[in-house]
Symmetry: C3
Subunit: 157 residues, 3 copies
């Protein structure tokens, strides 16, 4: 694929990722990952020092699926809306069929009373891979600046 | 028009939309709409359930113009700056000359004392149309997560 | 260079700018400026009225370098992480080898206890120039909406 096509596909993938979470469409969200995909949330401090501790760690798609199912139960008691605003996307080739993506994000949450507040800021450090005709996440790492989570981490970041 | 040209024009249109509001250039802002354009602000909850209630509803460009004139009077007593940060733009064809645009936004307001705060987050669900050489909004729907508006809705979102 | 290549290079430059600050890589950040580059932070109100007062003013790269060195000392006592989220980028030609860039930004800061808050919103009004193979900032003007700075301006915006 040409570099322009990959950038367009990567942009589309990242936008879908955010949109699926914000819409609460977690089945569609899962379909953005490869079977062997990892999903990780890690505090920036740990990430920068190379420390292994993570806030969330799923090492394959089934673990991601389980986590989503668990969250789905929990959010009944913690209603809110999410809103992702993702900044500029950077795409770098890693091999013939893998690329690295980087982007800063801000996530805002809105309570059931309609009040919005900043929930998390940080950065995505991802790897994506072509599988057939589709570009998918094979590694999603959310490096959070905000490690003091106000409330619980009830939806993926 | 090619898909790449439309995406560029759509990006330009959305950026102009935000910039005109943030600069307070409402005459220029109006010129981004077709004569039959609607402008709507709707709470996400209502939108998701298909309920008809809106927070703002203008069903043609003259109504949008009237609303802006009214706001212009009101903002004399409620001074602030707006700042839009718009996330990734998604463009989908609807017909030969119409496209759908979607993007998440965060709007920040700054008081006359120079303090900034989050004012609104939500999503644009728009329709745009080619008129002559220009791409214009024929339907602008602002779906707000933040339905408890702190202060009044003194400028368009 | 073609208009598409310039837009890509400009996007890359702006993303690097934000990333270098957020990563604390100020030597890399400096390399994004020409030798004669100016770096200015100015309150929006002053900018709009054409008043000359600035919050930060460096009129060449050596002054920018000095300022960064001074900040480096200061941040030892004011630890925080920065996170830039930059909105849509607009690129306009000025001459054969210079372009204007504009973009809205939001900067969030995170304390050493992991709490994030909005730090500054505003707009970049920049000029960039091709030097050899690289696009570099020859004029960086940060027009801040947020002129009441919570804490000190310990890193560039």
């Amino acid at each position: 694929m040409s570099s322009a096509s990959i950038e367009k596909a990567a942009d589309e993938l990242m936008a879908s990722y955010a949109e699926c979470i914000d819409d609460g469409r977690f089945d569609d969200w899962l379909e953005l990952f490869t079977e062997d995909a990892s999903y990780k949330v890690v505090a920036r401090d740990n990430h920068d020092r190379g420390l292994p501790a993570t806030m969330v760690l799923c090492t394959n798609k089934n673990m991601i699926r389980d986590r989503i199912a668990a969250l789905h139960g929990a959010t009944k008691y913690n209603f809110h809306y999410d809103r992702h605003v993702v900044g500029q996307l950077r795409v770098r080739p890693r091999s013939d069929d893998e690329w690295e993506l980087r982007a800063s994000y801000a996530v805002f949450q809105t309570s059931d009373e309609g009040r919005s507040s900043l929930f998390s800021v940080g950065r995505y450090l991802d790897r994506v891979r072509m599988e057939g005709e589709r570009l998918l996440f094979c590694e999603k790492t959310v490096v959070v600046d905000t490690f003091a989570i106000p409330g619980m981490l009830a939806t993926p970041l």
